[in-house]
């Protein structure tokens, strides 16, 4: 059962689940598409993330009851499959300041950490937090480490990082608490571009070590 909850006086938050799971992301993206195809009156925009979708509305045009009815009509009727797309390669220089510490915590060598991180294809689950920040999952079990005890004030642009079961790319310099294992020169955010971000949820990526 989806949870549809009031998020302030201009948005509803639809929660489809509580786990990082490709089929939940697939449902979120399918609901997002279905709503943008149907264009219900008063729905202004939507924001997908992992297993939830924020639906912003104009209270002068619609209300929570009507909008929830529109959303609920799709419950149980969506295809959770994420359309297969190209896998984008992310050239990565694995020289992050936390690579040694991650190796130590995981009882691996730095070379093992790099091999494990670059060994699989990842799904983009969310663009959020800051412009273009790309959340991907899920990491191999042996690379699961907690966030840093105290976040860095400034993480450089292009940093490739891991935390919990997630790996991510800092599109822009920002504060951050993830373990930095590498960096990429791939530009992920360009305010003047359409769209301004390189990736969207549902995309597939692979990190490729620079030789």
């Amino acid at each position: 059962m989806w949870r549809v909850a009031v998020a302030g006086d201009r948005a509803l938050l639809v929660t489809l689940g509580e786990t990082i799971d490709p089929s939940l992301l697939g449902l979120v993206l399918a609901l997002d598409r279905a709503l943008s195809d149907q264009r219900p009156a008063g729905l202004v925009s939507s924001v997908p993330a992992y297993a939830s979708l924020l639906c912003r509305y104009d209270p002068a045009i619609t209300d929570v009851t009507r909008l929830e009815d529109v959303i609920r009509q799709f419950e149980g009727r969506l295809d959770a499959a994420i359309p297969a797309g190209l896998v984008t390669e992310v050239p990565t220089q694995y020289d992050g300041p936390d690579l040694e510490a991650v190796a130590h915590k995981t009882n691996l060598t730095p070379a093992d950490v790099i091999d494990a991180h670059a060994s699989r294809e990842y799904l983009v689950y969310c663009i959020g937090f800051a412009p273009g920040f790309t959340y991907c999952g899920t990491l191999p079990d042996e690379l699961v480490v907690p966030r840093l005890a105290s976040p860095r004030v400034r993480v450089p642009t292009g940093s490739v990082a891991i935390a919990g079961r997630q790996t991510g790319i800092y599109a822009l310099a920002s504060p951050g608490g993830w373990n930095l294992i590498g960096r990429t020169d791939l530009r992920l955010f360009e305010a003047g571009a359409t769209p301004p971000v390189r990736f969207k949820p549902g995309d597939r990526i692979r990190f490729v070590p620079n030789r």
Partner: protein, 303 residues
């Protein structure tokens, strides 16, 4: 042209923001006290989406190199030597030294014609974390020069904006919220206990959000899977403190949200100073809509 002689504590170009790009991680932005900003534009006869100057805590010194019509609204500026909440004609060479802002935290300077900086993703607002917008992609610095635009919608208003049509500018604050959207992350009495608590504004605040302490109250929250966030969301951190999100908020977050401040009361949050107390009160959506219509009606009686 307007020359920035002294930028003040944190001064940026803002307008009504760029809602709709949150799916790219881009915050909605725009004036934190959207109501005071709207009044300032109204007083000088600007379009509602004209760009203006937002000052925080301590305002800028600006030199007008040509004559201009300006209005200052929002937090009080007792040292400006310049009556606020009304339009003024100033001569070429005039220097506006806004000085400290108190009570209130943020003041707005509108210039007839608007501040002319390029639109980026539909808005002239500074997006500080993205380093774009606001003309220079950062807060204003000494020596910056701002062009004045030519788009106006009506003559400047000759009367002062009535006090009866302003929002409170000093605490203690009562801020209206609707509970949620994460009730499952808290025990059932949590919101009731929060609304009985005088929360304390801490110095940890900026345009992204503000931390509040809850003296005498310990809220326990379970972490949630990263979810989209809204301006006004009141997050509960693992240590039991609160973070109320403002215009430049991170678009997603992993702390559960116990309640969300209604749009009509976001200006109050934006004016609360460190040391002020805030009580959050549940009003329901019908009252939230009524309070929004009240402010809209002040700005446009014909609406």
């Amino acid at each position: 042209m307007i020359e920035v002689v002294d930028p003040g504590r944190y001064t940026s170009i803002q307008d009504r923001g760029r809602p709709g790009f949150e799916r790219f991680g881009i915050p909605p932005g725009g004036a934190v006290d959207w109501f005071a900003a709207s009044v300032a534009n109204h007083l000088v006869g600007n379009e509602p989406d004209a760009a203006l100057i937002e000052a925080t805590t301590s305002g800028p010194t600006l030199r007008f190199q040509s004559e201009a019509t300006i209005a200052v609204t929002g937090g009080h500026c007792p040292d400006a030597g310049f009556p606020s909440w009304r339009a003024h004609r100033v001569d070429a060479g005039f220097a506006l030294d806004l000085g400290r802002v108190s009570p209130g935290l943020r003041s707005y300077i509108a210039v007839r014609g608007g501040i002319e900086v390029p639109l980026v993703l539909g808005s002239r607002s500074l997006c500080a974390i993205g380093a774009f917008g606001g003309g220079v992609g950062r807060p204003l610095q000494k020596g910056d020069r701002l062009a004045i635009g030519a788009t106006v919608s009506s003559p400047a208003v000759s009367e002062q904006w009535p006090e009866s049509h302003r929002l409170p500018i000093r605490g203690p604050w009562e801020v209206h919220v609707v509970p949620g959207p994460h009730p499952d992350a808290f025990d059932p009495s949590a919101f009731q206990r929060l609304s009985a608590t005088a929360c304390l504004v801490t110095p940890a605040l900026d345009r992204m959000g503000m931390r509040l302490d809850t003296p005498g109250l310990r809220l326990d929250a379970t972490e949630i899977l990263t979810t989209p966030m809204t301006a006004g969301a009141i997050q509960v951190t693992p240590s039991g403190g609160l973070i109320a999100l403002l215009a430049d908020h991170p678009t997603t977050g992993g702390y559960p949200v116990i309640a969300s401040v209604i749009t009509a009361d976001l200006p109050l949050l934006g004016q609360a100073r460190p040391g002020d107390t805030v009580r959050f009160r549940d009003v329901g959506l019908a009252e939230a809509a009524r309070l929004w219509r009240r402010l809209s009606g002040w700005l446009d009686p014909s609406a």
